[in-house]
C-alpha cells in the first residue's frame, strides 16, 4: 500500500483513539481532506524543485508505534545539553517519556500537547492559537490531521523561562520503519522570554521519517531564541515546518544547525504582524556523503519599521547537496523595512552541489533590502599561510571552516550549547582544536 493510502486509512484508526467531538478534531478532519487532495509534494512544484521525497516515501512506516521502548537516561544522556539545568520534553518513538522529561506548571507551562489538547484548562490557548499560523500545504495538513502529541509551551505575560527548554524526539529500532509527526505549540505572551533547543535523534539505523510542525506565537516585546540541532543518522529524514507569528517590538531568532540526516527540508516561515519587529534566521550546514539539506525560508514583512536578518552558511563535501531558497515579501504597508539576507557556501568536492535562490517581492517603496550569495572553495593562500605556521593541513582546513561559520556560531547565546555545537563540528571535521571560537 502506498504511504498516502496508508495514512488515509490510519486516520480512521486515529478517530477511534481521540475525542472526535472536539473543535480540534474538526481541524484534523479538515486537514486530512486537504492532504487527500494535495498529497505529498513533488519536484513538479516550484518550491520542491530541488528536493525529492520519493525515496523517503517508499518505506513501509509504522504510523502508530505499538509498544513503548524502554530507554534509560544513561543511554541517551549524551544527546542532552551538559553542565546546564534545563526543562526537558522528551519523546520516544512519538510517545512522551515521563521519566526522561522534566516539565513544569510553576508560573509557566512546559508540558505536552496531548494534555493541552484534551484538558479544559488549556482550551482558551488552544482555541486562540492552535493551527492559526500553520499554512495548509500537503505536509503541514498531514501533520495537523495526526496532531496529537508534541511540546506545549506557554510563557505568560512578563514571565521568564528560568532555564532553557530541550525538546528531543528519539526514535528506536522497536519498529522496522517509523513515521513521526510531532506537533509543537509555543505561545510566548507579552514581554515574556524563552530559549528552546529542539533535536530529532534516531538511535538505530532504520528508516525514520519525521514530519514536524511547530507554531510559535511571539507577543508584544516578547523574546524567543530557538535552536534546531539536526545531526541525525543516515536513514533519518526530516521535514521541519516552523511557523512564527510576531507582534510589535518582539524578537525571535531561529538558528538551524544541519550536520546530518538523509533528506532534511526546513520550511521556516516568519510573519511580522506589528511594528519594530526583529526576526533572525541563522543556519550552519555541514554535509558529506549523499546528505541533502533544503532550507526554504519566508519572511513576510507586513507592517512598517521592521527588520529581518538571514545568514546561512553551508559547507558541502563528497556528493552532498544543499538548497537555499530565501523568500522575502515586503508588503505595501511595510515601509522602512530593513531586510538582509546572505547565503555563503563552500564546496569541498567537485561532486557537491548547492542551489541558492533569493526571492524578493517588494511592494513598498521606502525599504532597504539586500541579499548576497557566494559559492566558493577554501582559500589556498590562507591554507598555505596557516601550514607555514605549523598548523597541519587537516587542522588548517578545519580552522578555516570554523572561521567561515563563526559569525553564526557566535550568535549562540547558551554557552553550553555553543560548546556542544563546536564539539559537533570538530567531530564532524575529524579534528580537535584547543579552543572554542
Amino acid at each position: 500500500m502506498e504511504l498516502k493510502e496508508k495514512l488515509l486509512s490510519s486516520f480512521i484508526a486515529l478517530e477511534n483513539q481521540v475525542d472526535i467531538d472536539s473543535q480540534v478534531h474538526d481541524i484534523r478532519s479538515e486537514a486530512i481532506k486537504n492532504f487527500e487532495v494535495m498529497g505529498f509534494p513533488s519536484k513538479k512544484m516550484e518550491a520542491w524543485k530541488y528536493t525529492s521525497l520519493n525515496k523517503v516515501l517508499k518505506h513501509d512506516y509504522s504510523i502508530f508505534p505499538k509498544k513503548e521502548a524502554a530507554l534509560e537516561f544513561k543511554d541517551v544522556k549524551n544527546y542532552f545539553l551538559q553542565d546546564i539545568d534545563t526543562y526537558k520534553i522528551i519523546f520516544v518513538d512519538g510517545k512522551y517519556s515521563s521519566h526522561l522529561s522534566e516539565t513544569t506548571h510553576d508560573k509557566i507551562d512546559v508540558c505536552l500537547m496531548s494534555s493541552a489538547l484534551t484538558h479544559e484548562k488549556y482550551k482558551p490557548v488552544i482555541d486562540a492559537y492552535f493551527n492559526k499560523v500553520a499554512v495548509e500545504d500537503g505536509m503541514t495538513s498531514l501533520n495537523t490531521a495526526f496532531s496529537r502529541e508534541g511540546a506545549y509551551i506557554h510563557i505568560p505575560k512578563h514571565k521568564l523561562a528560568d532555564k532553557p527548554i530541550e525538546i528531543i524526539h528519539f526514535s528506536t529500532s522497536n519498529e522496522a520503519a517509523i513515521m513521526l509527526q510531532p506537533r509543537n505549540l509555543i505561545v510566548v505572551d507579552e514581554n515574556a522570554h524563552v530559549q528552546i533547543v529542539e533535536r530529532h535523534q534516531s538511535l538505530a539505523s532504520h528508516p525514520v521519517f519525521t514530519n514536524s510542525v511547530t507554531e510559535i506565537f511571539v507577543d508584544k516585546r516578547a523574546y524567543v531564541d530557538y535552536y534546531k540541532i539536526q545531526n541525525d543518522n543516515e536513514e533519518a529524514s526530516l521535514v521541519d515546518n516552523t511557523f512564527i507569528e510576531q507582534q510589535q517590538e518582539s524578537y525571535c531568532a531561529v538558528h538551524t544547525f544541519s550536520f546530518g540526516g538523509d533528506i532534511i527540508r526546513n520550511n521556516l516561515n516568519f510573519y511580522q504582524k506589528g511594528e519594530r519587529i526583529d526576526s533572525v534566521l541563522n543556519g550552519v550546514t555541514i554535509l558529506e556523503g549523499k546528505q541533502h539539506v533544503d532550507h526554504n525560508t519566508l519572511v513576510n514583512h507586513i507592517e512598517p519599521n521592521c527588520e529581518s536578518h538571514q545568514d546561512y552558511k553551508g559547507i558541502f563535501d563528497e556528493k552532498s547537496t544543499g538548497v537555499f531558497n530565501g523568500k522575502i515579501i515586503v508588503e505595501q504597508e511595510a515601509q522602512k523595512t530593513n531586510a538582509f539576507q546572505s547565503n555563503n557556501n563552500i564546496l569541498l568536492s567537485d561532486n557537491a552541489t548547492i542551489n541558492s535562490k533569493p526571492q524578493l517581492e517588494i511592494f513598498a517603496d521606502d525599504v532597504k533590502c539586500s541579499h548576497g550569495c557566494t559559492i566558493g572553495q577554501l582559500d589556498d593562500a590562507a591554507l598555505f599561510y596557516m601550514r607555514s605556521r605549523g598548523i597541519a593541513e587537516k587542522e588548517a582546513r578545519a580552522l578555516l571552516m570554523y572561521a567561515f561559520a563563526n559569525n553564526v556560531l557566535e550568535n549562540v547565546k547558551i554557552p553550553q550549547l555553543k560548546s556542544r555545537i563546536n564539539k559537533l563540528i570538530a567531530r564532524k571535521l575529524g579534528v580537535s582544536l584547543g579552543f572554542d571560537l
Binding site: S388, G390, I391, E395, A405, F435
Partner: protein
C-alpha cells in the same frame, strides 16, 4: 644550518631559480637583494614549502635534512618561519587563537603537551609588548582590516612567539612607514641570537640600516651573482642594479 645547492625551481614549467647556492650558519643574518622578477619570492616560497613550486634540480638542506619531501607544516615544526610579503586575512580566527593553535600544533608534532594557558598568556603579553602591539589588537580577526604596518608587526609577533631557528623575512619593509619599520626592526634585532639565523629579502637598502646583515647577496635571473658584506647593499642603493646586470653579461 641551511644549505642550498644548485637549486633549480619554478612554477608551471617556468624555471625561475637557475642553479642557486647559499649557505647560512647559526647566528648569521643574510640579505638577499635583487630587482623585481629575479626570483626572491620564489626562493622564500620554495624554502617554506609552497606546493605550487617545483624543485627540478638541486637540494635545500636544513639541519642536515633534505626538505624536499616535507610539507609546509613539517618545515615549520623543524623551525623554519616565513614572514609573508602579503599576509593572508583570515576572518573569524583571532590573532590569539591562531598563534595558540600554531604553537600547540608544533608542540604536538614533537610529542609535547599543549602549552599551559598561563604560560601562553605570559608569553603573548611579553611578545606583544616587544612589538608595541595593543591588547585589543590580539582579539581581532587575523589580518582582517589590518593596515600594512599592523600586518607586518603581526608577522614578527608570530615569529617572536614561534621562536624559529631560521626566519625568512620576505619584503617585510614594503608598505611600512618609518615608525613601523623601526618597531619591526627592533623586534627582529631582539630576537637575534647565536643559535638562529635570518634571511632578509628586500628590494631596498633601507631595512638593512636597521637589521644589519653579515652578508649581502644579489639575486639576478635565478642565481646569486654577487655576494659581499653590508657595503654591497650601499653600493647597490647608489648605482642601482643595472651595472650588475652588465657585469653578469660581460
Amino acid at each position: 644550518m641551511l644549505e642550498i645547492k644548485g637549486l633549480h625551481a619554478g612554477i608551471e614549467d617556468k624555471e625561475i631559480l637557475k642553479g642557486l647556492n647559499l649557505q647560512v650558519k647559526p647566528g648569521e643574518v643574510h640579505a638577499i637583494m635583487g630587482p623585481n622578477g629575479s626570483g626572491k619570492s620564489t626562493l622564500s616560497s620554495v624554502i617554506a614549502g609552497k606546493e605550487e613550486y617545483e624543485v627540478t634540480k638541486g637540494h635545500v638542506i636544513f639541519d642536515g635534512e633534505d626538505l624536499e619531501e616535507l610539507a609546509a607544516e613539517e618545515r615549520a615544526h623543524r623551525g623554519i618561519f616565513l614572514s609573508f610579503q602579503y599576509p593572508v586575512e583570515i576572518p573569524g580566527v583571532s590573532v590569539t587563537n591562531f598563534i595558540k593553535t600554531a604553537i600547540n600544533e608544533t608542540r604536538k608534532s614533537k610529542g609535547q603537551e599543549d602549552m599551559p594557558a598561563n604560560e601562553m598568556l605570559k608569553m603573548i603579553r611579553e611578545k606583544a609588548e616587544l612589538l608595541e602591539i595593543d591588547r585589543k589588537f590580539l582579539s581581532r580577526s587575523l589580518n582582517e582590516g589590518f593596515s600594512g604596518g599592523e600586518k607586518k608587526r603581526n608577522e614578527i609577533f608570530q615569529m617572536a612567539m614561534l621562536e624559529p631557528k631560521l626566519a625568512i623575512l620576505d619584503e617585510t619593509d614594503s608598505g611600512l612607514d618609518i615608525d613601523a619599520l623601526r618597531i619591526v626592526s627592533n623586534g627582529v634585532n631582539k630576537l637575534r641570537n647565536k643559535d638562529n639565523a635570518i634571511i632578509v629579502i628586500t628590494h631596498y637598502q633601507r631595512l638593512l640600516e636597521y637589521i644589519v646583515p653579515d652578508f649581502v647577496h644579489v639575486l639576478h635571473n635565478g642565481k646569486i651573482v654577487k655576494s659581499g658584506t653590508k657595503e654591497l647593499a650601499l653600493e647597490l642603493e647608489e648605482k642601482g642594479y643595472d651595472w650588475l646586470k652588465e657585469e653578469v653579461k660581460a
